[in-house]
């Protein structure tokens, strides 16, 4: 029969909605309450040294809202005001300096969009498919438009001495999570971010200032940035020796594996986004990114990798930032093995998980950029699987 939503006057079409100022800083409408960060409790012992996952299955476009962008803390997210904020630059410099937040606001400002991916994104999948949903398998990632000041400008203010070949960056929180960054990178595109997506950084993202290290693993993006030490060697901190090193089959480990290699994932359909509309037009969409440059192509396969079709890259394609792809297909309603494969402008082609395991074994935790396989059943349900 006729749709009463159309034939009958609905309350929202007759009475008032909320007045202005009902929510001076708004939250998403309640119908989207399922779109939130989620954690996997068995992963870590304590919620203050833990990680959660961006609901990438439910987002579109490329920009991640701060409020649902994944968090990783090592001693909890701290409240640090602009008034209490200090940034020190010391070590192999001509003039050790202290800056206030207001000082940072007087440096030339730059805007850049960059993805931040935890090196352990997909780490639980090294041994085999484990978790149902790209939020959990690929959701340790976010992508924001940052505004801030170049690290190189701040370093120049202090005057880096010739033997200053590394910087060591650390945060003001209790973990003070420090990482060493080679001077070439520090002088290239590293940003001290003061704003994200047009607003101040959220507390959980390092308010009032965090580091943005484009293309490199998220652990280096130090939040609540408080000190930059200039050194003639790497500090070899806990976060670059005990953690964030890559175990290889011979029992040795790669260190300084900073770059996040090219990767992609189909975000819809996926286990948290089953197909409910049956056969016919189907939008397949996902995200692709590369820490080595810009995405040049994304291929999609629906038959487990026998045939591949280039997807559309939608919107602007920016280097070291998330790229949205769409693949519009006519689904015949039969079972599919959906996969995506990213190719970046260096010519690197996203490998299969098996190809990675053949080189790195399965004792690795970090840098799993293998191809994800979704098994789409005839009823539209989607599973995380591996195939041979």
């Amino acid at each position: 029969g006729a749709d009463p939503l159309i034939t009958e006057v609905q309350p929202w079409a007759s009475g008032f909605g909320d007045p202005v100022d009902a929510t001076p800083y708004g939250m998403p409408i309640r119908f989207e309450e399922h779109v939130v960060r989620r954690n996997v409790e068995w992963l870590t012992e304590s919620p203050v040294s833990s990680i959660n996952f961006t609901p990438i299955h439910a987002l579109e476009g490329t920009i991640t809202p701060q409020g649902c962008a994944f968090e990783r803390h090592h001693s909890g997210a701290i409240e640090l005001s602009k008034a209490d904020y200090r940034l020190m630059v010391n070590g192999r410099v001509d003039r050790p300096l202290v800056f206030t937040f207001d000082d940072l606001m007087r440096f030339p400002r730059h805007v850049m969009t960059a993805f931040c991916e935890c090196a352990a994104n997909g780490g639980m999948e090294w041994g085999g498919a484990q978790l149902e949903g790209c939020q959990f398998t690929q959701g340790m990632i976010h992508n924001m438009e940052y505004t801030g000041v170049m690290l190189r400008d701040v370093l120049a203010e202090a005057g880096v001495q010739p033997e200053g070949t590394w910087v060591y960056v650390e945060g003001a929180d209790a973990s003070s999570n420090g990482r060493s960054i080679p001077m070439d990178k520090a002088m290239d595109d590293v940003l001290i971010a003061l704003f994200a997506n047009g607003e101040a950084l959220r507390m959980e993202h390092g308010y009032p200032a965090r580091l943005v290290v484009p293309g490199w693993e998220g652990n280096m993006w130090v939040k609540w940035l408080r000190r930059i030490g200039v050194h003639d060697q790497a500090v070899e901190s806990r976060e670059e020796t005990s953690k964030y090193t890559d175990m290889m089959p011979d029992g040795r480990a790669r260190k300084w594996t900073w770059v996040m290699d090219a990767k992609s994932v189909i975000t819809s359909p996926s286990p948290q986004v089953p197909i409910r509309h049956g056969a016919g037009p189907l939008v397949v969409t996902g995200l692709a990114w590369s820490g080595n440059g810009a995405i040049s192509r994304v291929d999609v396969s629906s038959d487990g990798g026998a045939t591949w079709h280039p997807a559309r890259l939608s919107g602007d394609v920016k280097p070291k930032a998330l790229t949205r792809f769409h693949y519009d297909m006519d689904w015949d309603g039969s079972e599919m093995f959906l996969m995506s494969r990213a190719i970046d402008d260096t010519g690197y082609v996203q490998p299969t998980k098996q190809a990675l395991r053949e080189i790195r074994g399965v004792n690795n935790v970090y840098h799993n950029n293998g191809i994800q396989v979704w098994w789409v059943r005839a009823d539209g349900e989607v599973e995380n699987v591996e195939i041979a």
């Binding site: 012992e45 020190m88 050790p96 149902e132 203010e157 175990m247």
Partner: protein
């Protein structure tokens, strides 16, 4: 050309913040600590998470053992088996530990704990004393176990071949692993993976089916819940909210709320008003059994005294927490604990 921004960092400011210790010993401050002292400090400050012998508890990291396991299916990565530099141990303990009480250890305490960890890994004898002078003589067992990222040489050439587009498989795909078999995904109340996009129509009837608006089901008298008894002296909601925020520092070790389990510390549901050591199945420090025998109840004053100075109130507690000096904060946490369902 400098802009003239910022001011000079004073030497005492640099000394306060620049505590980094580098592999060659750069940054080490004068000091010393013995294995014997380290054992005692470790038991007080570290053992509640890392175990009495640094063997690890629950999912907290083991700091000793694991030698020779790095090629095993489940390698045990500890300070002894994996860490390449002793400087990292000293640096990390001093800057980040104990968890929840960072930057409270003195230099000598840090040397002592570091010495104890060398001992617990079988690298020194029990009479060893670590100092800034002998520090760089220690060579870690896995010092040569690391090499710089070689992906550009070893992987990028392999992964840069022109990809196949057609007839790339000889056989039909066969499922070899299914995540559902493991059952470790967080699930929603509907039995689906948490966060699943809800349907906008009645799935059983398909997208074409338009649901008639239903009247609210009638509630029969028998189903109406009796009005809840007013709680005696319920805590102020604003104070409870403050307490919930302040409780974050406790949440590392203590679970609360529905489904709370014992972790490093006991769960705290119903702790307010209960006798000390009331959670069955939790391995309390002996001092709590003593307090229970003495008839101590976790009323406001007892909780406040304990939170102010855990080791003052319960000497020998393994709760590695410095205490809360601010009385308002203690009151808020107590109000929050009071608000929890038993």
């Amino acid at each position: 050309q400098p802009l003239g921004l910022g001011r000079e960092a004073l030497p005492e400011e640099v000394e306060a913040w620049d505590v980094a210790v580098l592999p060659d010993g750069t940054g080490l401050r004068p000091g010393s600590g013995s294995v014997e002292d380290g054992d005692e400090i470790f038991y007080e400050q570290c053992a509640s998470c890392h175990g009495d012998f640094a063997e690890g508890r629950d999912s907290w990291p083991a700091l000793s053992g694991g030698m020779g396991t790095l090629t095993d299916p489940r390698p045990v990565k500890t300070i002894g088996s994996y860490w390449p530099h002793l400087s990292t141990v000293h640096d990390y303990i001093h800057r980040s530990m104990p968890f929840g009480g960072a930057q409270t250890l003195t230099q000598d305490e840090t040397y002592a704990i570091t010495a104890f960890l060398l001992y617990s890994n079988g690298m020194v004898e029990d009479d060893f004393v670590l100092t800034h002078e002998n520090f760089t003589e220690i060579v870690m067992p896995n010092a040569d176990g690391f090499y710089p990222d070689d992906r550009p040489e070893t992987e990028y050439p392999i992964f840069s071949a022109e990809p196949c587009m057609q007839d790339c498989r000889d056989t039909a795909p066969e499922v070899t692993r299914r995540a559902v078999d493991l059952g470790v995904t967080p699930m929603g109340e509907d039995g689906r993976p948490a966060g699943t996009i809800p349907a906008t129509f009645d799935v059983a009837q398909g997208p074409e089916a338009i649901e008639e608006p239903e009247d609210a089901p009638e509630v029969t008298a028998g189903e109406i819940a009796p009005e809840a008894e007013p709680e005696a002296a319920a805590p102020d909601p604003a104070l409870v909210a403050d307490g919930e925020r302040a409780f974050r520092k406790c949440a590392a070790c203590h679970q609360v709320g529905e489904g709370a389990r014992n972790g490093t510390g006991p769960h705290l549901n119903g702790v307010f008003g209960a006798e000390v050591a009331h959670v069955e199945g939790f391995r309390y420090s002996p001092v709590f059994q003593q307090l229970q025998d003495d008839g101590v109840v976790w009323d406001h004053d007892a909780l406040s005294a304990f939170l102010e100075s855990p080791r003052g109130f319960a000497q020998g507690t393994r709760m590695s927490f410095a205490g809360i000096r601010n009385a308002d904060e203690r009151d808020a946490i107590i109000a929050y604990l009071q608000s929890l369902e038993p």
